[in-house]
Symmetry: C2
Subunit: 341 residues, 2 copies
DNA sequence: TGAGTGATGTCAACCTGTGTTAATTCTTTG
DNA sequence: CAAAGAATTAACACAGGTTGACATCACTCA
């Protein structure tokens, strides 16, 4: 029933060791030998015993994904992309939701890596932005890939997948400007997430380019939550000089702002335009649907995992270019910023 | 650096064999010996090498969670609950999103179980309701637990966690009735999910109890999606005799109905009351927020995993009652069904 | 005192690959 | 054609536990 490496060797007419070499794509195996072995592997449907492999080689074939993100859609998309890549490369994915603000989060991550003997780790914000985590992982010599906000690849960010929040935010702001808005407010996300800062910078740059001085009262600090959007919009609409458009740092905040506007009987988009960021499913399910920036999270996650495997797999064929991926979320226009008819 | 079973044995002053006995909670080990060993385990922070354990015992310490559910919040909650239980029992969780409608889904599941050598499986709808899956798993002798709709435990459902959708739907319908509505429509979920049928039955029972004849036009088939809610509500509001309340099979459908009502300029709840089901986060983020039934998914998942471990762990202490858990989602009243002032 | 019992210890085999070494068998190529 | 180099093999230790057979030991109870 169970097929061992022995069976494969016999079937292919080679030694066990050669099969092992092929399975681990070690160098110095002739092309036709590889073919022979792979033929046998396929014929017998051989699946190496992961446990035995781990034990013998003391490296594992699973990577971890640590997250602390209230946005279920984001997490699910990330998982999906990571799993896709894992399946392709014969790895397994270990998910680890946790609390980023826990005082001993660094130790927790280390324990996880060591106990589960992870080959590598994928980090998303806020973990990808915590120097203490990166330092600890480097110290124990575990590969990891970070998904972070940024626009320009650099050697320092060699193990990063970049998301160009700046440019995307610039585009959204520009869209609002083109609709004729000049009093545009910005609802920030969590300060410690650099994405919030980048988006704010993009917003400011777009205003500056048009020579519009940013009104400091229009920049409202907050966090990536519905509640924050509710409060932020309320604050804005209590100003003597109200904005005519709100750019929220993500869709959830935007949904909160929408909610708030509704409570105050403000018509969207006629009296107030609202834009979000992320293109999460509920940006389509609010009323009116939200203008936003689409972030291809599944693809981003895939690329992150690919990048990770390039490091964890010692002899992998480096067919993929080693360029750092940079993703620019694309503008998605919906009714929340429609031209008032 | 790495602590082996040897170190523990030495530290506890017992033999390796005894440590092994304790780690696998075999019978006939004296209480104080167990304590001694566990003390050593804790002192040394010993974590048995999973790979070695799997290999030697040819049983694994991971369970799988197969899902195909567009509702990210549901999936995340399930994962959270399963992970909690897994951590507690030293298991790992393998997640496997897939397509339930794939023609060779049964084979896919079997491959997964065999390749990853899973100790057990947790199934949620629609997988938990597919006889072919259950049959296949039984055939290959893998433990599994199903989370399904139902109200009465029975030996046949011994490996199930039940969710009493009927009673919860009854309560919601009753709530609407108490508000004075008698023209209540029902937006169905996917036909193949028994939860939809159960909720429909609960709705009908509540009406029947008041002696209200159900209007067949008020029962609209559909699926568990926002779009389905949009279309369903539209259909209902085009009837010559319109309902005064809509009970949607879940929050997403309800959100769709809400959206639709807004398009048609129907005031909620003044002209139309809407209730959902599930208490997913966005039931709080619509406007107005949705009345719904709260399903404690994290807890449900935990219980499901516990139930599973009771079977996979040969000598587990059966402290927990072996009763089948039945969860009755609780009514959560919000503004979407408020009394019109 | 001796039999019976329950709790431990000893020891070796085993699970399935990997890493190493030394020896052997092709391939090149000068 | 010989020598060098590359690919392959055989054989075995090893990773870190589990498992089973059996021996040992301390107790209890007759």
């Amino acid at each position: 029933m169970k097929i061992t490496i022995n069976d494969v060797a016999r079937h292919a007419g080679v030694s066990i060791k050669t099969v092992s070499r092929v399975m681990n794509n070690e160098p110095s195996v002739r092309k036709d030998t590889i073919d022979k072995v792979m033929a046998a592997v396929n014929a017998l449907q051989y699946q190496p015993n992961a446990a035995a492999r781990n034990l013998a080689s003391s490296r594992s074939f699973s990577i971890g994904y640590i997250y602390d993100n209230p946005n279920a859609y984001y997490v699910i998309d990330m998982q999906r992309g990571l799993l896709d890549a894992c399946r392709k490369h014969g790895y397994e994915l270990l998910i680890h939701p946790t609390n980023a603000k826990s005082p001993d989060i660094v130790q927790e991550v280390i324990d996880l890596v060591q106990h589960s003997r992870l080959a590598g780790l994928v980090l998303t914000p806020p973990f990808s932005e915590m120097p203490s985590i990166a330092a600890a992982l480097e110290k124990i010599g575990v590969h990891f890939v970070r998904i972070i906000s940024g626009s320009t690849p650099s050697p320092k960010l060699s193990n990063c997948v970049l998301i160009d929040d700046f440019t995307a935010a610039f585009k959204i702001t520009n869209h609002l400007l083109e609709l004729g808005h000049s009093e545009i407010a910005f609802l920030c996300g969590d300060e410690e997430h650099s994405s919030s800062g980048e988006r704010l910078a993009g917003y400011q740059a777009a205003l500056a380019k048009r020579g519009i001085a940013a009104n400091p009262k229009f920049i409202v600090p907050g966090s990536y939550s519905f509640e924050s959007g509710v409060k932020g919009a309320q604050k804005l609409m209590e100003l003597s000089k109200k904005p005519s458009a709100i750019f929220a740092c993500n869709d959830e905040i935007a949904a909160g702002a929408l909610f708030s506007a509704r409570l105050m009987n403000i018509a969207i988009p006629q009296q107030l335009a609202i834009a979000g960021f992320e293109n999460s499913p509920f940006s389509r399910q609010t009323w009116p649907p939200l203008t936003t920036a689409h972030q291809p999270n599944v693809t981003i996650a895939q690329q992150a995992a690919e990048l990770l495997f390039r490091h964890t797999k010692p002899n992998a064929t480096k067919t993929l270019s080693d360029k750092q991926p940079v993703f620019i979320p694309e503008l998605v226009v919906r009714e929340s910023t429609a031209v008032s008819e």
